[in-house]
């Protein structure tokens, strides 16, 4: 009986620690989130802009890297592409998107790369 109580105490403590760490971690990443994205509605499609505070740093009216003026078909696709750019910037990497990045995100394009 006593040993099961001890067992539960350990489990609860462990969970509390894990939960606390995840909250702490989240506030840490929130602090790092100096970039955010906004979706640009282009009537027949979508683009995005990457903002640093109030300032536009990248404006993407067309799918990056692709020839011509291919817009994102859905708001969701524009949003997840912008998300990848932001995660690259936050990792201190180049914000460039390669054809493989867009293939991984399953971005719909009318003309192939």
């Amino acid at each position: 009986m006593i040993s099961t109580a001890k067992y539960w105490v350990v489990i609860v403590l462990f969970l509390a620690l894990g939960f606390g760490y995840s909250i702490y971690n989240q506030t840490l990443t929130n602090n790092r989130q100096i970039f955010h994205s906004q979706i640009v509605d282009l009537n027949d499609g979508y683009g995005y802009q990457i903002m640093k505070g109030e300032k536009i740093v990248i404006l993407q009216k067309f799918i990056p890297g692709f020839p011509g003026k291919q817009k994102f078909v859905t708001e969701k696709e524009a949003l997840k592409t912008a998300g990848l750019v932001i995660s690259k910037l936050e990792d201190g990497k180049s914000p460039v998107l390669l054809p493989s990045d867009l293939a991984e995100l399953n971005i719909s394009t009318t003309v192939s790369h």
Partner: protein, 330 residues
Amino acid sequence: MNKRKSYVYKITGMALMAMVISSCSSDDDDDDLGNWIDKSVFDGSARSSISGFTIDNVGYMGVGYDGDDYLASFWAYDIEGDYWSQKADFPGVARNAAVGFEVDGTGYIGSGYDGVDELTDFYSYNTAANTWTEIASLPTARRSAVGFGANSFGFVGTGYDGENDRKDFWKYNPTNDTWVELVGFGGNKRRSATTFTIDGLVYLGTGVSNGVYLDDFWVFDPTTESWTKKLELDEEDEYAVARSNAVGFTVNGYGYIACGELGGATNTVWEYDPSSDEWDQKTSFEGATRQDAIAFSNGSRVFIGMGRTGTLYLDDLDEFFPLDEYEEED
């Protein structure tokens, strides 16, 4: 306690001396006009030996080398809006040390080095459509050439073909998609030279061949297709214009040669006055010393960025105000 006090005195003394020394050196800098303002707001796409061109108020840059990979991605910097857009990837093999120039509103990038071979292939970029089209290849492969657009033609010359430095020039005619050799350049063979264009005349200088930084300076008149020698880059004792892997640009009727390599990356900037054929030193580039950078200029504003210093590849961009007093704090 006493020991600690003497340390404090020593440190204070050293700090005072450092202040005196640094204020003296900044007084010297005040002799040179020109101010720099950092425009980079994110860690961009670090690369060197980039190629590009400026059309209207947009600077285009692409290809290059980032220390690990040869690159094919291509970006546009909006001068008015101060933001970047990633454009259509360069369709040729990823490369560096290519040439880029503009002819009548169309951009061109070609030649260069892919890590194995010097290249001949060339492409035109339509800014309105965001599309690349392969054009006729340059008749002889090379990297680290100069390229410029003038009088509705493209020109490519000098460079390194994998075995030798070169002095030949080629003229590209966009109306019939052909290259024709252009004779008459009297300068030495070289690689990594620089050009700038003032009032339709193209000035060419700097570069290196067999470890020697060249001092000759030339002007090309595209209407007569003739080259004329100007005063040498070591004409005055205080001139230190000679270098390689620099950037050349034009602002408000003056030509500039900035940054580059001279036994290591440099950040010095020289201004050329075409009316007097004289050079004047300006405030050095404020960021890290660098070579193989890029300059975007629409004729009245200029931005310099990217490049490398040693094996550190850079991604920042600074605007240069050649007529302003230098201010360290902005």
